[in-house]
């Protein structure tokens, strides 16, 4: 299926646009979140790794937004910078902040970016790492499925992104088993993070009213199917890292219909801060 073919099928086009917003917004927000660590990571090597994955995801957002633009949506920067939270379609997992129990000392004003100051003072890197693990595994499952998408531009893009996403999954697959079993502190931190994040991770697969249309058109599999595949991927890695799933987790939904955690407003205020000074300017 090509872009031109979609012109004749309004409901398929609407469903595809919704899917691309979900993919693009997840990519942008997790990229933004991971780049909050750039320059202040726990160890230089991981500082670099998180920056690199952040750039990949921001690049993926740009690619998905470009597909949207080709379908008649605004240009990529306007999509990223010109929307309020109610129009974002990202899941809560990528939106969440990383302050855990908030037991660390409250932030001092160390820069003119209060979110950054809070990451410095209270950021729990274990949360970022486990989030990255859950997300990149889902990303890999999703992209593998989309490589078969009937919408050719999306299938083409999915194949292009495979290599980078493979590196993201490899990063967590290498680190988690090492850190999860290294010290009592590292195990506890990762276990708490896994327990807190798991319901949000399930929320990555929030069913949408477009699922059936997308599946029927061969554009993307339905979300519950992807969720099953994802769980089969992560279970052995959790086991091998000494991490257990929290009992009885109900998924946190809402993101796919624009009902977000309050954190998203904070993320967008930071993201769009300079842009909003003059949305017509070329920066």
């Amino acid at each position: 299926m090509t872009t031109a073919a979609l012109a004749h099928n309004a409901s398929t086009k609407t469903a595809l646009i919704d899917l691309l917003y979900r993919l693009g917004d997840d990519s942008l927000i997790i990229g933004h979140r991971n780049s909050e660590w750039t320059g202040i990571g726990p160890i230089l090597e991981e500082d670099i790794a998180f920056s690199s994955m952040a750039q990949d995801k921001i690049g993926h957002a740009l690619a998905f937004y470009t597909l949207l633009h080709e379908l008649g949506e605004p240009d990529p920067d306007t999509i990223a910078y010109g929307r309020g939270p109610e129009r974002f379609r990202c899941c809560s997992l990528v939106t969440l902040d990383i302050f855990g129990d908030g037991k660390s000392a409250p932030p001092a004003a160390l820069s003119n970016n209060p979110v950054r100051d809070r990451v410095v003072a209270q950021g729990d890197w274990a949360i970022s790492l486990v989030r990255q693990f859950f997300f990149s595994e889902a990303d890999a499952v999703r992209m593998a499925a989309l490589e078969q998408s009937a919408y050719e531009p999306l299938a083409h893009l999915a194949r292009k992104l495979r290599g980078e996403i493979k590196y993201h999954t490899l990063h967590a697959r290498t680190l988690l088993p090492r850190l999860g079993r290294a010290t009592a502190e590292s195990r506890d931190r990762l276990q708490s993070a896994a327990a807190a994040l798991y319901p949000h991770a399930l929320g990555m697969f929030e069913p949408t009213p477009h699922d059936a249309t997308l599946a029927d058109a061969g554009i993307a599999p339905a979300e519950p199917e992807l969720c099953d595949r994802w769980q089969r991927e992560i279970a052995p890695i959790m086991d091998g890292s000494g991490l257990v799933f929290p009992p009885r987790s109900s998924p946190v939904y809402g993101g796919r219909t624009g009902k977000h955690l309050p954190e998203l407003t904070e993320v967008l205020d930071a993201l769009q801060k300079v842009y909003r000074l003059d949305p017509t300017a070329i920066w």
Binding site: L28, H32, S35, T38, G39, I40, G41, P42, I43, L44, E45, E46, D47, I48, S51, S52, A54, I58, G59, L62, Y65, D77, A80, Y81, A108, A109, L110, S111, N112, N113, R116, V120, A121, G123, W125, R178, L179, R181, A182, T183, A184, S186, R187, R189, A235, D239, G242, L243, V244, F245, P247, A270, K273, V274, Y275, L277, D278, A281, I282, W283
Partner: protein
């Protein structure tokens, strides 16, 4: 002739055989040979190099702070990608340079702790705050440009591992410069708001930039020895003039004004910029840790190092094969 292979013994003036070794060492360095970690070298040479590389590495990771703070605010996807990549490079430079200093016997952990305690210095420019987006543009263009003048010179220096690290650093810095210049062009050719932001940033940054290459040759204490041992190949003033000759005309072309109090003027005959000399006492005060945001920079580094402790400890345990017992439920898949 004394073979320069014994590592780091009899390396101080007065030690047996020191003078002969020194003569051979200096002859070798004078020929442009590279000194390698396994080679004999005067203790002073080693100490000076550790000091310089340590300060340089510290500057890279402290330099990541003012710009890193602005990654979340970058106003377009392209700028966000480029800024994140740039700051990542700077952290990578820190990693590379700490490793070069480690070849001289000083562990990274110790160097980072000396930075945090305020014992070791970092570049004067990173003691100042990045207040607006235009500051990020000015840092990436002009401060990286000033740094390239210094690093390209140091890359020709006599110590092999430092020289090789700097070759790679310079390669990446070229991209930073393009990114910085491109941002400044957008600002300088943009709306009035953007042009004013840019000029305001230059007004605040010009003093630290003029001080970047260090005290004037009349005041600098280290230069002579460093040049004899080919650690450093140009004086501070020579580097500053090289930077000014190359970038002041570009700034003028973009309509950027240099603050009047500097009375910048070009001396055609000597091909040199003349200006009112910076207050070098102020420079020394700043790099000793009394700049506008020195305390905040170190507090940021301290907190991030502190919060990373569990990661470093766990990675060390894993590297040694230490494992804690698995909780009994761990193998019960859900």
């Amino acid at each position: 002739m004394v073979q320069i292979t014994e590592k780091w013994t009899n390396d101080r003036p007065g030690d047996a055989g020191y003078e002969e070794r020194l003569a051979a060492f200096e002859a070798r360095v004078g020929r442009g040979d590279k000194v390698e970690p396994g080679d004999w070298m005067p203790r002073d040479y080693r100490d000076q190099l550790i000091r310089l590389i340590h300060v340089h590495a510290n500057s890279e990771i402290c330099g990541a702070l003012p710009e890193g703070t602005w990654i979340p605010h970058a106003p377009s996807l392209k700028r966000k990608l480029a800024l994140c990549a740039k700051v990542q490079d700077e952290v990578g430079h820190g990693q590379l340079l700490y490793r070069a200093a480690e070849t001289l016997g000083k562990p990274r952990e110790e160097m980072i702790e000396e930075l945090i305690s305020g014992k070791a210095k970092y570049s004067n420019v990173f003691h100042y705050p990045a207040e607006t987006w235009a500051d990020v543009c000015v840092i990436a263009w002009l401060i990286d440009a000033a740094a390239i003048v210094n690093q390209a010179m140091m890359a020709e220096g006599s110590y092999g591992p430092y020289s090789r690290a700097l070759k790679r650093v310079c390669y990446e810095e070229a991209f930073h410069l393009t990114h910085g210049y491109d941002m400044c062009i957008s600002m300088a050719t943009g709306s009035k708001l953007q042009r004013d932001m840019l000029q305001d940033a230059v007004n605040r940054w010009w003093k630290p930039i003029m001080m970047f290459h260090g005290p004037s040759d009349k005041e600098s204490t280290h230069t002579t020895l460093l040049m004899r041992w080919r650690i450093k190949l140009k004086t501070n003033d020579e580097q500053r003039q090289e930077f000014l000759r190359k970038y002041v005309p570009k700034m003028i072309n973009l309509g950027i004004r240099i603050p009047a109090e500097w009375e910048m003027r070009y001396d055609e005959k000597n091909r040199a910029w003349l200006y009112n000399e910076p207050d070098w006492e102020e420079f020394k005060t700043v790099v000793r840790g009394n700049g506008p945001v020195s305390a905040k920079r170190l507090e940021t580094r301290r907190l991030s190092h502190e919060h990373g402790r569990w990661v470093r400890e766990a990675l060390a345990a894993a590297a040694e094969g230490r494992k804690i017992p698995l909780p009994p439920t761990a193998y019960a898949t859900n």
